[in-house]
């Protein structure tokens, strides 16, 4: 559950989950929506995967992400969006 809170604490990751709510998207499509570098986006995707909030499927060179939220996680995402909660950033996040 800690990994879920960590994943939901970042606005970029929350926005990724919001985008995936519409339909699955490729890593390229998702990255194009944010003004951050690809490695940074890749790190965000890894956090979401570790928390088991998204499913990643590789086909050739394309990675497609699908949303994988329980009702509780969905509700937490909604709460996080409304109240914008943010955990204190860890050293790992600052790297």
């Amino acid at each position: 559950m800690n990994s879920v809170f960590k994943a939901l604490s970042d606005p970029t990751r929350r926005k990724v989950l919001e985008l995936l709510r519409e339909r699955p998207m490729t890593a390229g499509e998702l990255s194009a929506q944010f003004p951050v570098s690809r490695p940074t986006m890749s790190a965000h995707f890894n956090v979401l995967k570790e928390a088991d909030l998204v499913d990643a499927e590789r086909r050739g060179t394309t990675v497609t992400y699908r949303l994988k939220l329980t009702v509780l996680e969905d509700a937490l995402l909604g709460f996080a969006q409304v109240f914008g909660f943010k955990l204190p950033s860890s050293k790992e996040d600052q790297k």
């Binding site: 709510r21 339909r23 699955p24 499913d55 699908r66 994988k68 009702v71 969905d74």
Partner: protein, 135 residues
């Protein structure tokens, strides 16, 4: 993964059956009244529905043919999960507070509504897919 699901279901079933047996035994021994025993098992059934409905949207299965089909299936799973979770919470809540005569029909109506919403969403997702194939 499949083994985990079977184990979780078997554990859930065992807990429910044990609770029902304990309730019956408690009522027989006069520790609790028959109404309370019946309420306990109904509350457990409601909470079981909550647990399974909560996890339903996470069971995404294999990828669909297109992103649009996947989006529709995802929306259907999400609405089904929410409607059944809320139905389960109301079901359990009704059995906590309402008189038995009212709780029985009301709780059934709530779960039936949740199931109807789920079936309609699944049907709508399938119908949209048929329309896509025809178009």
């Amino acid at each position: 993964m499949t083994f985990n699901r079977i184990a979780a279901s078997a554990t859930g079933a065992t807990v429910l059956i044990s609770l029902a047996a304990l309730g019956k035994l408690g009522a027989h021994l006069g520790v609790i009244d028959a109404d309370m025993a019946s309420r306990l098992i109904q509350i457990a059934i409601g909470l079981t529905l909550v647990v399974f409905a909560n996890g339903a949207p996470k069971q995404i299965g294999r990828p669909r043919a297109s992103f649009e089909a996947e989006g529709r299936a995802q929306a259907a799973r999400r609405i089904a999960g929410w409607s059944l979770t809320i139905a389960g919470l109301i079901y359990a809540g009704v059995w906590v507070i309402a008189p038995v005569a009212l709780a029985a029909p009301f709780s059934i109506a709530v779960v039936a509504t949740g199931l109807t919403v789920t079936v309609l969403c699944a049907w709508n997702a399938c119908r949209s897919r048929s329309a896509d194939l025809a178009g």
